[in-house]
């Protein structure tokens, strides 16, 4: 069950992805890269529809660390969107942003932590925070839809003004259960 119920009027789903989108643009983010996740689908769509944002689809999440670093070298701010399973793919590439003290802002939708159907998602979900912490990434948790804008704004400031690598972990509880069987 989603903690933020879909809008009955429009059927467009929860509003918090749009709050994140607006916050990213207010933070002057102009590049966005992603490995798709259903929980990020609406945000990805909004970023694609914005001509002021260069969107880049990645083959693996670690590319997004390198892309964010390159963008910063060129004076641009980037965001990386991924699922918790992708955090493990990023480990060594995080040495780039750590060694160069390059800002990193990544938004991670969590799997394996709340009403998870797929046992294969659970080990990396359980290890996500530890993996990020091991590489010096600051972790902020987003648990409540109404706090989406505030948490992402704080993360962006911490990253781009504070020269930190920051991950916002978006609670699986906010994303709703994945529907595995049609009609159920």
């Amino acid at each position: 069950m989603t903690a933020s119920p879909p809008s009955a009027a429009t059927g467009a789903g929860p509003d918090w992805p749009l709050a994140i989108y607006r916050t990213l643009r207010e933070a002057h983010v102009t590049q966005a890269s992603y490995v798709p996740d259903a929980g990020h689908a609406r945000l990805i769509r909004s970023l694609h529809e914005d001509e002021g944002v260069r969107t880049t689809v990645l083959t693996t999440e670690e590319e997004g660390i390198a892309l964010s670093a390159g963008a910063w070298l060129g004076g641009a701010r980037a965001v990386l969107l991924m699922q918790s399973s992708g955090v493990g793919n990023c480990i060594n590439m995080l040495s780039l942003t750590a060694s160069c003290r390059i800002p990193l802002l990544t938004l991670v939708t969590m799997r394996g932590e709340w009403a998870e159907f797929n046992p294969w998602q659970i080990p990396m979900g359980r290890g996500t925070s530890a993996a990020l912490a091991a590489m010096g990434v600051t972790i902020l948790r987003l648990e409540r839809p109404e706090e989406a804008g505030e948490v992402v704004a704080a993360a962006a400031a911490l990253a781009f003004d504070g020269d930190q690598q920051v991950a916002v972990l978006i609670s699986q509880r906010m994303l709703g259960r994945k529907k595995w069987v049609e009609g159920k």
Partner: protein
């Protein structure tokens, strides 16, 4: 061109001379280098505030170049890396090709070996043709360069800010070269590079 990138058809180009030829008269070119010898080669060709040397992040050089090229669309950007580094980031060739940065060129100095770790054969040395991989990944502009004349003819491509991304496989020799070590401090290299582009250290 033999058509087979196997070790018995190894390249003949001197890697240091290759870097010097490609980067001569570089003007407003921005350069990202892959870890290991390509960083040393580019440094040896002449240190420059517009150079960003990777000392790690293996597999990331081409994508650092992509992020930079997207942020600085009016400047030509070249990534100079090695076959082993690019092979670790093979998927990045798809990402770069689909992003279509017109101002980005990827140059792989390809000796078919892992030079930093004891000269073990790489997949390139075992027969994978990286220029063909790049083409299959979506690069429409790929080339293989085997001699000095080819390098000189290719150099104007690096100055272009449209028509990319380009991919060049430069067949270099495996011979030993003296180390030439660029600065390793990443924060320094970052600030130097951004300063070159006019971004003040905050």
């Amino acid at each position: 061109m033999s058509g087979q990138g196997t070790s018995e058809t190894a390249g003949m180009l001197d890697r240091r001379q290759a870097a010097r030829t490609l980067l001569a008269d570089r003007r407003d070119l921005l350069v990202v280098t892959g870890l290991g010898s390509p960083s040393y080669d580019v440094f040896d060709a002449g240190d420059h505030d517009g150079n960003f040397y990777l000392w790690g992040a293996m597999g990331g050089a081409a994508i650092v170049g992509l992020g930079l090229a997207q942020a600085q669309a009016s400047r030509p950007v070249v990534v100079v890396t090695g076959d082993g580094e690019q092979i670790m980031g093979t998927g990045a060739l798809m990402t770069v090709a689909m992003a279509r940065p017109g101002n980005l060129t990827i140059v792989v100095l390809d000796n078919g070996h892992y030079g930093e770790t004891g000269m073990q054969l790489s997949h390139s040395g075992l027969g994978v043709r990286l220029d063909r991989v790049a083409r299959a990944c979506g690069f429409e502009n790929t080339t293989e360069i085997s001699d000095e004349a080819g390098l000189q003819a290719y150099r104007p491509e690096l100055a272009k800010t449209s028509g990319g991304p380009r991919f060049a496989r430069v067949r270099i020799a495996t011979g030993h070269v003296e180390r030439a070590l660029p600065p390793r401090d990443g924060a320094y290299l970052k600030n130097r590079f951004r300063g070159h582009l006019g971004f003040a250290v905050s």
